[in-house]
């Protein structure tokens, strides 16, 4: 067992605890960035002037009329930027644009004494636009060859030759939608100027260090003149990894120019029309199987809808390519990936970071092909699982392939899947207008940032003279329970009760050069850094204790705040007394910790290497019921077994699994981003830009019966206290819902019906799918994989997804 993963006796990690801020959450005492505004005086409010075109040149900008509005203090434009007029790291995101790149793009910002004044001031600003042609859909961008960034190719073996030889070959095209983060707390920054021009920005950001860098380069000052603090976020899900920077920079610019605090809080409409989303993808694919249903080869092209600027689109694409295999061995493979540039918001990180998109292509292929191969979809999936000793297409060994099988078999058993499928078949026989379906899908998700440099973290641990402990680390709290886990790690590493440890908000002047709290890596990286800091302190205290107790420092143990030697005879000393003694001996009672993930290497150009420390595994079984009159459905039961290693905090981890699953189900079945793709005056406008039109899962979408288990005996050798990351992987367990809907829709037709299902599988999409299944076709395939045209009848989304099959 590694030193990193080994747990002491009676550790605080592993105990199910509620969120460390739960009592503050429920009473409303928990402070979020915008809650600080009322505690300051003289705060100015910022409001954007948003362009009403998807693509246009700005030919004139007249800000004077805004100054006639009572309460307007200043209008911020490009002329005000002392440093670099850019909000990103790729230098393709002008903070104040001269060319409007998407509908709703902020042209300039108005500062007012009140939000009302700023809003009216923004309405008074006059902008002249010269509209330009706009690309709104991915097919439009492909046709126009509008791409950005570096195209990537992932290959192993000879996919073309293997497809030639395959017994069964299918091909298809699949375009699927992105997803709005819809964190309940919209983007918000609050900037203040300290003495000497120092800027403090409170920001709802997953990446305080990068927010700091962008603010500094916009202001034209070194990083040490800018401090970014994140108290906590009201949800983020990846949407606050890159996107907060520009808003923080606007607030900071306003604060430095006026000398007053500036609050920039987007309302929901602004947030949803201005901030990036999960990438929608377009894919074309050819897949080959042998007679037993083994995948022989895959040749696919993935095109991510990047929106107007690069943002994180390249790493998102890389992760999509690295996850198209999901849990399946594909001996010969070739996947081309590219990022389309469209006149939409700049799509960005979202829980799973391209992984879900890559996997969705594969799960869709398997769901569509199983009936054509005449193989039960559960069997088809299980049969293609990675086996021990096999490697991914990018060359990483799948070291825990047995865990996939273990999760699968446990779900099948505890979920009584075989018996329930028989019951479902019987139900479906008896109900002509209602059908049920059950599907199982696996997840294998790589943990670590693809970019190796990001896999480092720092922490700062203080032990005060009274024995109380304050920890700081570079991770941010967005609801995922990172701080709860970090408190547990610190208490475990120091041998203290949890009550002795407190955690301070994330600040760039405490821990510098941090990576984003992203890629599910927050606990792995920061936990290891905290553990490292605590162990330094513990080591020094052991020296002191050894002297006090008359034992070797190596034999000193600290448990629940009591310091003793190996033998009871040596007596004991309390933590507080030890700390006090150490202080008087002039022993350093604080330490900075650091961690870098070992063993990673990645050649981004060749798309080869070992980018991941390990894989997180999980399996879900979902049962749905579909109404044949409307396509409406309910999620009757979900069983999950998920591998979080040895859990640091089981209540937190189960919460992540459940929440991720429901969020994934939202992406795949309900959440419907609709952009105006017409040639009308609103071309490029997001039509679903409010909670009233963009529907998140609510109580009614929760599985009626929801059974989540953590895989047992799942020690992870290479991670802090044997745990595994949990934030993203469970989202992808929701493929089971989509596949269950496909099963239920197919049940409306004759046995062996292959169902083409749009994504998101809204009730309307399900209706068209089941209507196609139950409507006799002119040309039925004689055998499973002979030529046919199973395009959806009449479905407006179906036409985007015409699929042809060739045998």
């Amino acid at each position: 067992m590694s030193a990193l993963s080994e747990r002491p006796e009676n550790p605080t990690v592993g105990i199910p605890l509620p969120h460390e801020s739960a009592a503050l959450h429920v009473t409303g005492e928990a402070l979020y960035t915008d809650d600080l505004v009322g505690r300051l005086t003289g705060v100015l409010h910022a409001w954007p002037v948003q362009a009403p075109h998807a693509h246009a040149r700005i030919t004139a900008l007249r800000t004077e009329p805004a100054h006639d509005v009572p309460g307007v203090v200043r209008v911020l434009t490009a002329d005000d930027v002392p440093g670099i007029n850019d909000a990103g790291v790729k230098h393709d995101e002008p903070l104040f644009p001269s060319e409007v790149m998407f509908h709703g793009h902020a042209v300039c910002w108005v500062l007012g004494e009140t939000q009302e004044a700023a809003r009216l001031g923004a309405a008074a600003v006059e902008v002249d636009y010269e509209p330009l042609p706009a690309l709104v859909t991915v097919p439009e961008a492909i046709a126009a060859e509008s791409f950005q960034g570096t195209p990537r190719n992932l290959a192993r073996g000879d996919a073309a030759a293997a497809l030639e030889k395959a017994a069964h070959v299918f091909e298809g095209e699949f375009e699927f939608a992105g997803q709005e983060h819809f964190y309940l707390e919209t983007h918000v920054s609050l900037a203040l100027v300290d003495e000497g021009g120092q800027v403090l920005v409170h920001s709802s950001t997953q990446h305080p260090s990068e927010t700091q860098e962008i603010v500094a380069h916009v202001l034209g000052v070194p990083s040490h003149e800018v401090t970014v603090q994140c108290l906590r976020m009201g949800g983020a899900f990846g949407g606050k990894e890159m996107q907060p920077h520009g808003y923080a920079a606007i607030a900071a610019l306003g604060a430095t120019l006026t000398g007053r605090p500036v609050r920039l809080r987007l309302n929901r409409t602004q947030d949803i029309t201005m901030s990036g989303k999960r990438h929608g993808f377009h894919s074309t694919w050819r897949v080959g199987f042998d007679d037993d249903g083994h995948i022989l080869a895959l040749d696919a092209t993935l095109t991510a809808d990047g929106g107007w600027s690069l943002d994180l689109s390249e790493p998102v694409l890389a992760r999509a390519l690295c996850h198209i295999d999901n849990a399946y061995w594909v001996p010969d493979i070739r996947v081309d990936g590219r990022v389309a540039r469209t006149n939409k918001t700049s799509q960005t990180a979202f829980r799973g970071f391209g992984g879900p998109q890559g996997m969705l292509v594969m799960e869709d292929i398997l769901g569509r092909c199983a009936p054509l191969l005449g193989i039960d979809p559960l069997e088809l999936r299980r049969r293609n699982f990675y086996q021990q000793g096999q490697t991914t297409p990018y060359g990483q060994p799948v070291r825990q392939a047995d865990r996939l099988a273990a999760c699968w078999d446990q779900v099948a058993a505890s979920g009584e899947v075989a018996q329930r499928r028989a019951e479902i078949a019987e139900f479906n026989r008896q109900h002509p207008h209602t059908k049920r379906g059950l599907a199982m899908t696996p997840v294998k998700f790589g943990i670590s940032f693809n970019l190796t440099a990001f896999n480092q973290a720092g922490a700062l641990v203080h032990v005060y003279k009274d024995g109380s402990v304050l920890i700081n680390h570079g991770g941010t709290e967005m609801g995922q329970g990172l701080h709860t886990k970090m408190l547990q790690v610190a208490a475990t590493a120091l041998g203290l009760p949890l009550s002795r440890v407190r955690l301070a908000p994330t600040r760039t002047d405490k821990v510098p050069n941090t990576s984003a709290t992203a890629a599910s890596s927050g606990a792995d990286l920061n936990g290891a850094a905290i553990k490292n800091a605590c162990e330094q302190i513990r080591e020094r205290l052991a020296q002191v204790a050894g002297g006090l107790l008359g034992v070797s420092p190596r034999d000193v143990r600290i448990e629940d705040g009591v310091v003793h030697g190996l033998s009871p005879a040596s007596g004991s000393v309390g933590w507080n007394e030890l700390v006090n003694t150490a202080y008087h001996q002039r022993v350093q009672l604080w330490a900075s910790g650091f961690y870098r993930t070992d063993g990673l290497h990645w050649d981004a150009n060749a798309m080869q290497g070992e980018p991941f420390k390990y894989f997180a595994n999980g399996v879900a079984a979902a049962e749905v019921e579909v109404d044949g009159f409307t396509g409406a459905y309910t999620l009757r039961r979900v069983d999950i077994v998920h591998d979080v290693g040895d859990s640091l905090s089981p209540l937190i981890d189960i919460g992540q699994i459940e929440g991720g699953f429901v969020q994934g189900a939202g992406w795949l079945t309900l959440e419907d981003l609709r952009w105006d793709t017409s040639d009308g005056p609103n071309r490029g406008r997001l039509a679903t830009q409010a909670a009233s039109t963009y529907k998140l899962p609510s109580f009614s979408e929760m599985p009626e019966d929801f059974r989540v288990k953590l895989l047992e005996k799942a020690h992870e050798e290479g991670a802090v206290y044997g745990s595994k990351a949990v934030g993203e992987p469970p989202l992808m367990l929701a493929f089971s819902v989509r596949e269950a809907l496909r099963e239920a829709a197919a049940a409306f037709g004759p046995a062996g019906t292959s169902v083409d299902l749009a994504s998101p599988a809204t009730p309307e999409a399900v209706y068209w799918a089941l209507d196609a299944a139950r409507t006799p076709r002119a040309t039925e395939p004689a055998a499973g994989d002979t030529a046919a045209e199973p395009a959806m009848a009449g479905g407006p989304r179906g036409s985007e997804e015409a699929t042809t099959w060739s045998g």
Partner: protein, 505 residues
């Protein structure tokens, strides 16, 4: 549990003020459009959050002491983002901060906290208030010991009606721990001051007049006074529950020179059940009507759970849903099927007209500027075969792409009368007259129903938008009649009368 003192008697008249968590706070210099949410947050009560500013997410939920159905006062959860704070003059509000503190949690807060009901915590104060309203609902049966195993979908587990949380969105948890927290709630303790407060009358509505920067908020005392004001100031914006106007203010930046509040006018809050008619006061909220009718109008009983969310139904009024004249309002298709009439009051007297004649165009009606919807009349007896079908992306708290209200009479296997109301397929709610004609006089059989369904699929002029395609909307019209037919067949009766269906009057 100890909690901040809550006044046990109606508040003493004072200058415009709101009692918040037991403290009287003056409404000094408050603009007519200022929402309760912004006002609370400006006063340092930052527990309630803005998540959407249109009453969809519930992060701003707070409790208001309102007239109760089963107790004198009910703690009613409302969206603070939609209610102008001026509307709460003289009223009592409790926020998450007022329910408990982190060192002394309220039972609802306690259950949510320990069960993992909060992750990011941003939506949590809103969930707390919505769930507290359910905790204090007088009709709630509470055994206290039936803690959920997490494996049932009973919506009335432990007396808790989960529809109480239908207007609250959580993006983090997946809801299961929140449901477990709700199901774990016992009865309020004997010394619970909020429970005790229910026994005393709620604060009476009182006339209000606020004027700031040339914009006024006026709550007249009587109907006559209101009508006089509307006659004098035809530009006035009439507002009842503010669930529609609040969205206009927040999302579209609309400001009115004069807002006239009518939601507490006694003349608009009567509910009468007579031999030949049920009359619903226009200012009754959907929740009040739902509770007071208690299933007596089965078509409405089917509608209510599908009408927006509990938070919205607690504020939204039946008159308001007709008054906004939205083609996708949920009540009109049902009321059209019920042959409802609208009573319009003006200084010139009252007039009564069929709802079918009320709508004239997109958000346009026959109502004159000096007229108010006083009530809605539903003629009796009711047709025995009814259904309300709402097609939407989400099962609850969504806006319909299509809504269909059916009220049919079948005698000796033949359809003798048919009323079908449609929403979402034209610029106004409409009656499916051609389909009605295709049904009446014909046998209630699959064959003739299929024929009528084909006619229904051609009613109106549905359009493509972000909610649904035109072809889906049309298909859903036809399918809804088939679904109605099939559901009755499946129950083994051609025409079945559910237990609560008969109107006792």
């Amino acid at each position: 549990m100890t909690a901040p003192a809550v006044p046990s008697a109606p508040s003493v008249p004072c200058a415009p003020c709101v009692t918040v968590n037991g403290d009287q706070v003056p409404l000094d210099g408050v603009a007519a459009h200022t929402t309760t949410l912004d006002w609370l947050r400006d006063r340092g009560l930052t527990g309630a959050k803005e998540g959407c500013a249109e009453g969809e997410c519930g992060a701003c939920s707070v409790l208001v002491a309102r007239p109760g159905v089963e107790t004198e006062t009910e703690w009613t959860a409302v969206n603070a983002c939609l209610v102008p704070v001026a509307a709460l003059d003289g009223q009592e509000v409790v926020t998450s901060e007022g329910l408990g503190t982190s060192s002394d949690l309220h039972p609802v807060q306690q259950e949510l906290a320990v069960r993992g009901g909060s992750q990011c915590g941003y939506c949590t104060p809103g969930f707390v208030c919505s769930l507290a309203a359910e905790f204090y609902r007088a009709g709630r049966v509470s055994t206290g010991d039936e803690v959920s195993s997490g494996s049932t979908a009973d919506e009335h587990h432990c007396g808790v009606d989960m529809h109480a949380l239908s207007g609250n969105l959580c993006r983090c948890t997946g809801y299961r721990p929140i449901r477990d927290a709700a199901y774990a709630l016992g009865a309020p303790a004997d010394d619970d001051t909020f429970a005790a407060r229910r026994q005393a009358p709620p604060p009476a509505p009182r006339p209000t007049r606020l004027a700031v920067d040339g914009a006024e908020y006026v709550r007249p005392a009587t109907l006559a006074e209101t009508l006089a004001l509307l006659t004098e100031r035809p530009e006035a914006q009439v507002v009842a529950g503010s669930t529609d106007w609040g969205v206009e203010v927040n999302i579209r930046g609309r400001r009115a020179p004069l807002v006239v509040a009518v939601d507490r006018l006694p003349e608009l809050r009567e509910l009468r059940i007579e031999d030949d008619v049920i009359e619903l006061g226009a200012a009754l909220t959907l929740t009040e009507i739902e509770r007071r009718l208690d299933g007596r109008v089965p078509l409405l009983a089917e509608l209510f759970p599908q009408f927006a969310s509990r938070l919205i139904r607690n504020s939204a009024t039946i008159g308001g849903n007709i008054g906004t004249a939205s083609p996708i309002g949920d009540a009109p298709p049902a009321l059209l099927a019920l042959d409802a009439e609208v009573v319009l009051a003006s200084p010139r007297g009252e007039r009564v007209l069929p709802l079918a004649d009320y709508f004239t165009g997109y958000r346009e009606t026959v109502r004159a500027a000096d007229e108010l919807i006083r009530s809605v009349r539903i003629p009796l007896p009711l047709a025995p075969l009814v259904a309300f079908h709402k097609i939407a992306k989400r099962r609850f708290d969504d806006i319909s792409s299509v809504a269909v209200g059916f009220a049919l009479e079948v005698a000796d296997g033949t359809v003798t009368r048919a009323r079908i109301g449609l929403g979402g397929v034209a610029a106004t709610p409409i009656r499916a007259v051609a389909t009605e004609d295709a049904l009446v006089g014909r046998p209630w059989t699959e064959e003739s129903v299929r024929r009528a369904a084909a006619v229904l699929a051609t009613e109106g002029t549905p359009m493509d938008d972000h909610r649904a395609s035109a072809s889906y909307r049309s298909a859903m019209l036809g399918q809804s009649l088939l679904r109605l037919f099939w559901s009755r067949q499946a129950r083994g009766h051609c025409v079945q009368t559910p237990k609560k269906q008969e109107v006792s009057a």
